[in-house]
C-alpha cells in the first residue's frame, strides 16, 4: 500500500484566473438556453452556436491547464449557502482536466457527427441545446470542489440524459428507456446524496480539499461502511455496473450521436470519475476492495459475455461498454497505484475507441436502415473507408498491438499478475483477465466480421453507400487518435495522465513507462492467448448461441425493472385512491383534522390549563354586544342561507362591516380603512361573478354529512374562540415599543403601522405585493379566453346596463375619488392611509367608472395596460429598495429629510414614500385586472353583436 500524503499545496492560483472555472461551466449552461433559440434561425445556426458554445470552456480552461498539469490545484469559491456548507466552489486539477478535455473534445466531434447524422428536417436546436446542458452539468461534476455542488450537477446530468435518451419521444421505446435510465441513475443519485451528506459530516466540510485531507478519520468512522455503500450505489448506477447495468443497453433508443457521447466519454464515466475523485478517501479498506473489484469483475465478464450474443449492432456496443466500465471499476478496486493509472488510461482509450465505434455503427445504421447484424453483411465493399475506420476502432477495443486499447489492456494484465491480495489463489485473477480478454476479442471480431465481411447483405430496407465525407471526419479523427496514442503514448497522453493519476491517487504516481514494447513477458503471453482464444470463441459462436438459447435463464433486467415499476405504480394508485378520493371536502377535513391534532399535541402532558389569564378584563359596552350580535347574524346568516348566493353575499358584507368597526373601536384606523375598502372591492367582485352562476345553488345531497360538518365546524369555532380568549387575557411582551420609539427618528413618519410596512419591514411588504401580483396574474391566466353565458337576465337596453344617473354622478365623483386617493396615499406615512388603502380606493373609483360607462369606453380613455401596471408597481418598489444599495446601504434602507420645494416650502419627504407608491400601483393593478377581467367575460360574449344604436348618442353626450 502506498503511503498517502496530501498533494503538495502548490501555488494557489490567483482568483482572477480561477474565476474562469465557474465561467466555463456557466457558459455551457447558458448555451443550453441559447442554442435552442439560435436553432430557430435555422439548423446551421444551431450547429455553429453549439460548436461555439462548447469551444468557450476549452478556451477558458486553457490558461489554467499548465498549472493543473504541473500538479497545482486551482480553486475558486463563490459563497452561496455557507451555513449549509454549500458553496459554488470549483476546482481544477489533473483529474478534472483529463475528464474536461474528454467531455469538451469528444463533444465537438459529436456535434459535427450529429449535423450529418440527424435527419435534415430536425432543426437540432432542442437536441444540441439539451446536449449543451448535459455537457455543462458533466463539466460541473468534474470541476466541482464542493461535494454537494457536485451532487447537484450529477442530478442535472441524470435529468438531461433522460431528455436526451427520450429525444425521439414519440416512440414508446424511447420513453420507457429514458424513464428507466432516470429511475436507475436518479435513484443512485439519491443514494449518492445521502452518502455525500454522511461523508461531509465525517470530514467536517463538503469542500473536497478538506475531505481529501481527512481520509484517515473517514475510514475510521463507524458509519464508513454505510457511507461507502451509498456512494458506491451512486457511482455504480451511473456507470452501469452489474446489477444496475440494464438501463444502458436500453438507452440505445437515443439517437446515435447521443449514445456516442453519453456512453463513451461522459455520462457513464461520471461514476468512474466519482470513484477516482474519492479514491484517496474511500479506498484502502477491505470493504472497498471487495465491493469495487468484485462488482467490476462481474460486470466485466457479464457484459463481455452478453455482448457477443447481441444481434443488434448498438446492443453489442452497449454491452461492450458495460464490460469496459466493469474493467475500469475492477482496476480501481484493485487499488494498487499502477492499476489506478491503468484505469485512467483506459478511461481515455475507451472514450476514444467507443465513441468512434458508436459513430461507425451509426453510419452503418444510417445507410442500411437496420442495426441487425444478421442482415448487415459485406459492408467493406460498399463503404470501404468507413469500414477501415471501424476496423481500426474495433481492433483497439480488442486490444490489438499498436493501438491504444492494447496498451491499457497490457497494463491490466500486468496488474492482474502483480495483484497479491488473493494469496494462494493469485493465479485466479490473471486467468480471469485472460478470459475477459478472450471475450472482448470475440465480440470485437464479431463486430468487424459480421458487419464488414461475412458475405452479402440480406434484405436491407435501404441501399447503403459511402456516407458524406464530413460524417466520417469525426470517426476518422478518433480512429487516428487510437493510432497516435497507440504508437506514441508518452507524447500523446503522458503528461495529462501523470497529472490525473497524481490527483486521483492523492500522491505522486509510481514510475511507469508508456511504451509499446515491454519485452516478452507474461502479460504479452496473456494477450496472445486472448487473441487466439477470441478467434476460437468467435468461430464456435453458433454453439454458444444455441447453448444460450437453451439454457440461459431468462432474466431480462428491463423486464424485471418494468415489473417492479408497474407494481409500484399500481400500489401508488391504490394508496392514492385510499387517501385521495378526489373530493375537496375530504381534503379540507384532513387539513382541519391535522391542524387540530397538531394544535392539541401542544397540550399533551401539560397541566390542566385555566382558560382565563391574569390580565384584567376590559369592560364591554352595550355597543360591543350589539356589534357581536350583528357579526354573528351576518356569519350565521351566510352559513345557513349560503345556497341563496346573493343573500349570502349580503350577509358576508354585514360581517365584514362589523370587523372594520371592531378595528376602529380598538384603535386601528389603518386596518379599518383597509378592511372597508377591501370589503367594497370584494363585494363588487362577488357580485360580478354571480352573473355567471345560478342564483340558487342546488340542495346538497346526503343530509347526514351535514351533521359531521356541523360538529367539526362547531368544534373549530369553540377551540379557536377559547384560544383567542385565553390569549387575550394573558400578559405578553411586545417588540413594538422599538418601532414606536424609532418611527419618527428612523423612518421619518408618525404613522407607525405605515412605517413598519414600508420601512422597517419593507422586505416583507415587497414579498406581499409580489404575492398579490402573482394571485392577480393567476386569476388573469385562468380567465384569459374564457367565455361564459351569464345567468342573470341581460339588461333590456344599453341605458339599463350603464344607468345614466350613475354616469352623470361619476363625472364629478371620479376626479374627487382619485384626488382623495392621492391624499390618502401621500399622508399615509404620517396619518392613517398609505399605498394599500389608496390603491383600493383608486381601484373602486375606476371600477365604478367601468360600471357607469362600460369597460370598452373606459379602457379606451384610460389607455392603461394592467399587466404593465404591475411591472411599474413592483419595479418602483424594487428600485426604491435597490437605490439604497447604490449608496452602500443594505437593500431597502430608507432615507428621509426636509426638502425645500418652491411654493410649498420645506417639506418632509421619505424615500419610503416611493416604495409606498409602488405598493399603490400594484394594488390598483390587482383590483383593476381582476375586476375588469371578470366584467369582460360578458362583454366578450356580447362582442359579436352589432353595437346598439343608442351608443353613438351616448358617446356624444359624454364627449
Amino acid at each position: 500500500m502506498l503511503a498517502r500524503r496530501a498533494l503538495p499545496p502548490g501555488a494557489r492560483v490567483h482568483p482572477v484566473v480561477s474565476v474562469l472555472l465557474p465561467m466555463a461551466v456557466l457558459a455551457l449552461l447558458a448555451g443550453a438556453a441559447l442554442v435552442p433559440m439560435a436553432g430557430r434561425l435555422g439548423r446551421r445556426t444551431a450547429i455553429w452556436s453549439a460548436a461555439g458554445t462548447l469551444a468557450v470552456p476549452l478556451v477558458l480552461l486553457a490558461p489554467l491547464a499548465p498549472g493543473a498539469l504541473a500538479g497545482e490545484v486551482a480553486v475558486h469559491r463563490l459563497s452561496w449557502l455557507p451555513e449549509w456548507g454549500l458553496d459554488l466552489s470549483f476546482r481544477l486539477d489533473g483529474l478534472g482536466l483529463l475528464f474536461a478535455v474528454l467531455i469538451l473534445g469528444i463533444g465537438q466531434l459529436v456535434i459535427l457527427y450529429a449535423a450529418y447524422y440527424m435527419p435534415q428536417k430536425d432543426g437540432l436546436g432542442r437536441l444540441l441545446g439539451t446536449l449543451m446542458g448535459f455537457a455543462g452539468a458533466m463539466l460541473g461534476v468534474v470541476l466541482s470542489e464542493n461535494l454537494l455542488l457536485m451532487v447537484v450537477f450529477w442530478e442535472i446530468t441524470s435529468v438531461t440524459s433522460f431528455l436526451l435518451v427520450a429525444y425521439k419521444h414519440d416512440t414508446i421505446e424511447a420513453r420507457i428507456a429514458a424513464r428507466m435510465a432516470l429511475a436507475v441513475t436518479g435513484g443512485g443519485g439519491l443514494a449518492l446524496l445521502a452518502g455525500v451528506l454522511l461523508l461531509g459530516r465525517m470530514a467536517g466540510s463538503y469542500e473536497l480539499s478538506a475531505v481529501l485531507a481527512a481520509g484517515e478519520a473517514i475510514r475510521a468512522d463507524p458509519l464508513y461502511p454505510v457511507m461507502l455503500v451509498l456512494v458506491l450505489l451512486g457511482a455504480f448506477t451511473k456507470s452501469a455496473q452489474f446489477p444496475f447495468h440494464f438501463w444502458l443497453p436500453n438507452a440505445m433508443a437515443a439517437p446515435t450521436p447521443v449514445s456516442a457521447y453519453l456512453h463513451s466519454a461522459t455520462m457513464v464515466k461520471a461514476g468512474i470519475f466519482l470513484l477516482l475523485r474519492l479514491y484517496p478517501v474511500l479506498s484502502g479498506t477491505d470493504l472497498w476492495f471487495f465491493l469495487v473489484s468484485l462488482t467490476g469483475a462481474v460486470t466485466l465478464a457479464y457484459g463481455a459475455y452478453v455482448a457477443l450474443l447481441k444481434h443488434d449492432l448498438k446492443g453489442l456496443l452497449a454491452y461492450s461498454t458495460v464490460s469496459h466500465l466493469g474493467l475500469i471499476t475492477l482496476l480501481i478496486g484493485m487499488e494498487s497505484p499502477l492499476s489506478t493509472v491503468a484505469a485512467l488510461f483506459h478511461v481515455v482509450n475507451h472514450a476514444i475507441f467507443k465513441a468512434s465505434l458508436f459513430m461507425a455503427a451509426g453510419i452503418v445504421d444510417h445507410e442500411c436502415g437496420t442495426r441487425d447484424m444478421r442482415r448487415i453483411n459485406g459492408m467493406f465493399r460498399i463503404m470501404p473507408r468507413t469500414a477501415v475506420l471501424g476496423i481500426v476502432a474495433a481492433a483497439s477495443m480488442a486490444g490489438v498491438p499498436l493501438l491504444n486499447g492494447f496498451l491499457s489492456k497490457e497494463m491490466f494484465f500486468a496488474e492482474a499478475v502483480e495483484q497479491g491480495a488473493l494469496g494462494g489463489y493469485a493465479y485466479l485473477l490473471p486467468a480471469f483477465a485472460t478470459f475477459a480478454g478472450v471475450l472482448s476479442v470475440a465480440y470485437s471480431i464479431r463486430f468487424v466480421h459480421d458487419v464488414f465481411f461475412n458475405g452479402a447483405p440480406v434484405d436491407l430496407p435501404r441501399q447503403p453507400h459511402e456516407p458524406p465525407g464530413w460524417m466520417r471526419v469525426p470517426v476518422g479523427i478518433l480512429a487516428g487518435l487510437c493510432l497516435v496514442v497507440g504508437l506514441v503514448p508518452q507524447l500523446a497522453v503522458g503528461a495529462i495522465l501523470r497529472a490525473a493519476s497524481a490527483a486521483a491517487l492523492g500522491a505522486s504516481p509510481p514510475d511507469y513507462k508508456l511504451v509499446i514494447w515491454h519485452g516478452f513477458n507474461l502479460p504479452l503471453v496473456m494477450s496472445i492467448v486472448a487473441m487466439i482464444g477470441g478467434v476460437l470463441w468467435y468461430l464456435f459462436r453458433r454453439v454458444l448461441f444455441d447453448l444460450h438459447e437453451r439454457y440461459a435463464p431468462n432474466v431480462a433486467g428491463p423486464a424485471a425493472f418494468e415489473r417492479v415499476f408497474n407494481a409500484a405504480v399500481v400500489a401508488a394508485r391504490a394508496v392514492l385512491r385510499l387517501l385521495d378520493p378526489g373530493h375537496l371536502r375530504r381534503y379540507t377535513l384532513y387539513l382541519i383534522g391535522g391542524a387540530g391534532a397538531l394544535g392539541l399535541a401542544g397540550f399533551l402532558g401539560a397541566k390542566p390549563a385555566v382558560l382565563a389569564g391574569s390580565l384584567p378584563a376590559t369592560p364591554a359596552d352595550p355597543a360591543a354586544h350589539g356589534a357581536l350580535l350583528a357579526l354573528l347574524f351576518g356569519a350565521f346568516g351566510c352559513a345557513i342561507l349560503h345556497r341563496h348566493r346573493l343573500v349570502a353575499v349580503a350577509f358576508v358584507s354585514v360581517a365584514g362591516l362589523i370587523v372594520s368597526l371592531a378595528f376602529i373601536r380598538f384603535s386601528a384606523p389603518d386596518l379599518a380603512l383597509t378592511q372597508l375598502s377591501v370589503e367594497v372591492v370584494t363585494i363588487v367582485l362577488l357580485l360580478l361573478s354571480l352573473r355567471f352562476m345560478p342564483g340558487d345553488a342546488p340542495r346538497e345531497l346526503p343530509r347526514r354529512r351535514a351533521g359531521l360538518d356541523a360538529a367539526v365546524a362547531g368544534t373549530c369555532g369553540l377551540g379557536i374562540g377559547a384560544l383567542a380568549y385565553a390569549m387575550m387575557t394573558r400578559p405578553f411582551e411586545t417588540i413594538s415599543g422599538w418601532f414606536t420609539a424609532n418611527a419618527v427618528e428612523g423612518g421619518g413618519g408618525t404613522n407607525v403601522v405605515n412605517v413598519i410596512l414600508v420601512d422597517f419591514r419593507g422586505f416583507d411588504t415587497l414579498g406581499e405585493i409580489t404575492v398579490l401580483a402573482v394571485a392577480a396574474l393567476g386569476a388573469h391566466a385562468l380567465l384569459e379566453g374564457l367565455r361564459l353565458v351569464p345567468h342573470a337576465p341581460a339588461a333590456a337596453s344599453e341605458a339599463d346596463l350603464h344607468p345614466i344617473m350613475l354616469a352623470m354622478l361619476m363625472r364629478p365623483l371620479l376626479p374627487l375619488a382619485l384626488a382623495f386617493a392621492l391624499y390618502i396615499l401621500l399622508r399615509g406615512h404620517n396619518l392613517p392611509g398609505g399605498g394599500f388603502v389608496a390603491g383600493l380606493i383608486t381601484g373602486v373609483a375606476l371600477i365604478l367608472q367601468y360600471l357607469a360607462v362600460g369597460i370598452e369606453t373606459t379602457s379606451a380613455r384610460l389607455r392603461l395596460d394592467h399587466l404593465r401596471l404591475f411591472a411599474v408597481g413592483l419595479g418602483l418598489a424594487l428600485v426604491t429598495g435597490l437605490a439604497s444599495m447604490v449608496f452602500g446601504l443594505p437593500f431597502l434602507t430608507s432615507w428621509h429629510g426636509y426638502v425645500p420645494i418652491p411654493l410649498v416650502g420645506k417639506t418632509h419627504l421619505a424615500s419610503a414614500m416611493m416604495f409606498d407608491i409602488g405598493v399603490y400601483f400594484t394594488v390598483v393593478a390587482t383590483v383593476l385586472l381582476i375586476l375588469s377581467e371578470i366584467g369582460r367575460l360578458s362583454t366578450r360574449e356580447r362582442a359579436p353583436r352589432p353595437a346598439p344604436a343608442a351608443r353613438p348618442a351616448l358617446e356624444e353626450a359624454r364627449a
Binding site: R585, A627, L628, L671, F692, M728, V771, L772, A775, L840
Partner: protein, 114 residues
C-alpha cells in the same frame, strides 16, 4: 370585552369552516372570507385590547403614552389585502370551472361516495 371578541372570532371560525365544507365553490369562497376575518381579528387581538390611542406618534403618544400595538396591525393590514387577492383567485378558479365543466361544484360535478 375579551369574551365578546373571542365569541365573535369563534362564531366566524365555525361558520367559515362549515362553509368551507360545502360543495359549491361559491360557498367555499364565502367561507374563506369569513375565516380570514377570524384570522385577522385573532392576530389583531394578539396586541391585546386596551383603551389606548392608535399607533400614531402624535399628541399624547409623542409625549410618552403607549399606543396600540402597531405590529399586529401591520401584519393584518397586508393580510387583508392578500386575502382579497386569494378570494379573487378562487373566484376566477370557480368561473373557470364553470366554463370547463358547467358547474361550480368543487369536485367538478362528481358526487362524493358514502
Amino acid at each position: 370585552m375579551e369574551l365578546v371578541l373571542a365569541t365573535g372570532i369563534g362564531g366566524l371560525v365555525a361558520t367559515g369552516v362549515w362553509l368551507l365544507l360545502r360543495e359549491r365553490a361559491f360557498s367555499v369562497v364565502l367561507g374563506l372570507a369569513l375565516l380570514s376575518y377570524a384570522a385577522n381579528l385573532f392576530i389583531f387581538a394578539g396586541g391585546r385590547l386596551a383603551p389606548v390611542p392608535p399607533p400614531l406618534v402624535l399628541g399624547e403618544v409623542a409625549s410618552g403614552a403607549t399606543p396600540a400595538d402597531p405590529l399586529p396591525q401591520a401584519l393584518v393590514l397586508t393580510a387583508i389585502v392578500i386575502s382579497f387577492g386569494t378570494t379573487a383567485f378562487l373566484v376566477a378558479l370557480a368561473l373557470r370551472a364553470i366554463g370547463e365543466s358547467g358547474t361550480d361544484s368543487v369536485d367538478g360535478g362528481r358526487e362524493e361516495e358514502r
